[in-house]
């Protein structure tokens, strides 16, 4: 269950960002990109996040996980292909080994959606 550790890392990174803002904003959603060719299970990550966010600055924050497929590039055929996880990783056309992974190894905090409290947002009105 290393998703627990991953979630810890996620929360620390987001907290660093949050504290570095001039006015700590209200975060509404954290977007992650998780590749299929990683050892991370999105369901477990979601579960760990929901447990760990309680009673923190992330209470009520949503975690959106976008999974990216495993895509490899075959240098022999000069084209992308989708290896079949658990069965076949070599190029289905020429059997050339999977050497160049173009997608699927991502484990990334992509972006954060946030807003400011209503009284703060008034200060942002351009005509004031």
């Amino acid at each position: 269950m290393h998703e627990t550790d991953m979630t810890k890392a996620l929360i620390i990174t987001v907290k660093d960002w949050w504290e570095s803002q001039p006015v700590p904003p209200q975060i509404s959603c954290i977007h992650l990109i998780v590749g299929k060719f990683t050892c991370v299970e999105p369901v477990s990550l979601q579960f760990a996040f929901n447990v760990q966010k309680q009673n923190t600055f992330l209470e009520g924050v949503e975690l959106a996980i976008q999974e990216t497929p495993l895509i490899a590039f075959c240098h022999h055929c000069q084209q992308d292909y989708f290896p079949e996880m658990g069965c076949q990783y070599a190029c289905p056309q020429c059997q050339y080994p999977m050497e160049d992974i173009r997608s699927g190894r991502e484990l990334k905090i992509d972006r954060i959606e946030y807003s400011f409290e209503t009284e703060d947002s008034a200060a942002y009105a351009p005509n004031l």
């Binding site: 269950m1 290393h2 550790d5 991953m6 890392a9 996620l10 620390i12 990174t13 960002w17 904003p25 509404s28 992650l32 060719f37 990683t38 050892c39 991370v40 290896p83 996880m85 658990g86 069965c87 076949q88 990783y89 070599a90 080994p97 999977m98 050497e99 484990l107 990334k108 905090i109 992509d110 972006r111 954060i112 959606e113 946030y114 807003s115 400011f116 209503t118 947002s121 942002y124 009105a125």
Partner: protein, 235 residues
């Protein structure tokens, strides 16, 4: 009005671990040490491999071991018989070593010994084919073990570990006559995703293949030697 903003971060989830791993590697490089991260499922034979390695190489190389174990020091005690420093790290509930834990081990080593005297640090990771593959600890190369009894399909089922490995030891080769396991199939499955990995079939019991493994270890150290000399010129 309630306005929503968006901040692009693009930060790796394992950013902190990766930074720690890079820092550990800088220490190893500074001291001219090669670090190997030894990984496998539980019971594949990591500890006995290290026992054989220490017995064969500790007279020609100065070796230290960082031993990851969830709760016990059983493995560490086995290796201490070879009169090399063995630093035991209990990972608790964590199923892998991370760079911070190994940093603790490195600091302990540098506190008790002169680290520049060492050539090789062997990190024995927690038995697990999944998580250790994602958490770099500062190693120069990854060594994976797969015992014959685990079957041909494991590289296909746990591909990240086998795709990341620089050396794969197929262990317990002495059992081959008793099992319906096709070694060529294991090799082919691994090569599908990692064509350049060094594959060495070994048996700690009969000694088969161990010389080839020792040579691979020696080669890693030799390969780093020019970098070591360059470093000493700089300082």
């Amino acid at each position: 009005m309630h306005q929503t903003f968006d901040a692009a971060l693009g930060i790796n989830l394992l950013h902190a671990n990766q930074e720690g791993a890079d820092h550990n590697r800088e220490h190893f490089d500074e001291w001219g040490i090669i670090c190997l991260n030894v990984m496998s499922s539980p019971g594949a034979g990591k500890t006995v491999l290290l026992e054989r390695t220490l017995a064969a190489l500790s007279s020609e190389l100065k070796i230290a071991v960082i031993e990851g174990d969830m709760t016990t020091e059983l493995d560490a005690d086995r290796l201490r018989k070879y009169n090399v420093p063995v630093i035991a790290i209990n990972t608790g509930r964590s199923c892998h070593l991370d760079s911070k834990m190994v940093a603790g081990g490195i600091h302990q080593l540098s506190y008790q010994y002169n680290p520049a005297e060492f050539d090789l640090v062997l990190v024995e990771n927690v038995g697990n084919l999944v998580c250790p593959a994602e958490f770099e600890v500062g190693e120069h190369a990854k060594v994976a073990l797969l015992s014959l009894t685990e079957g041909e399909d494991k590289p296909l089922k746990y591909p990240v570990m086998f795709q990341e490995a620089d050396c794969l030891l197929i262990t317990k080769m002495d059992l081959a006559p008793h099992l319906d396991v096709d070694v060529d199939r294991i090799v082919a499955n691994v090569r599908q995703m990692n064509p350049h990995v060094a594959i060495v079939p070994v048996s700690a019991k009969t000694g088969e293949g161990l010389d080839a493994w020792f040579d691979w270890v020696r080669f890693q150290i030799k390969r780093s030697a020019p970098a070591k000399q360059q470093l000493s010129v700089v300082h």
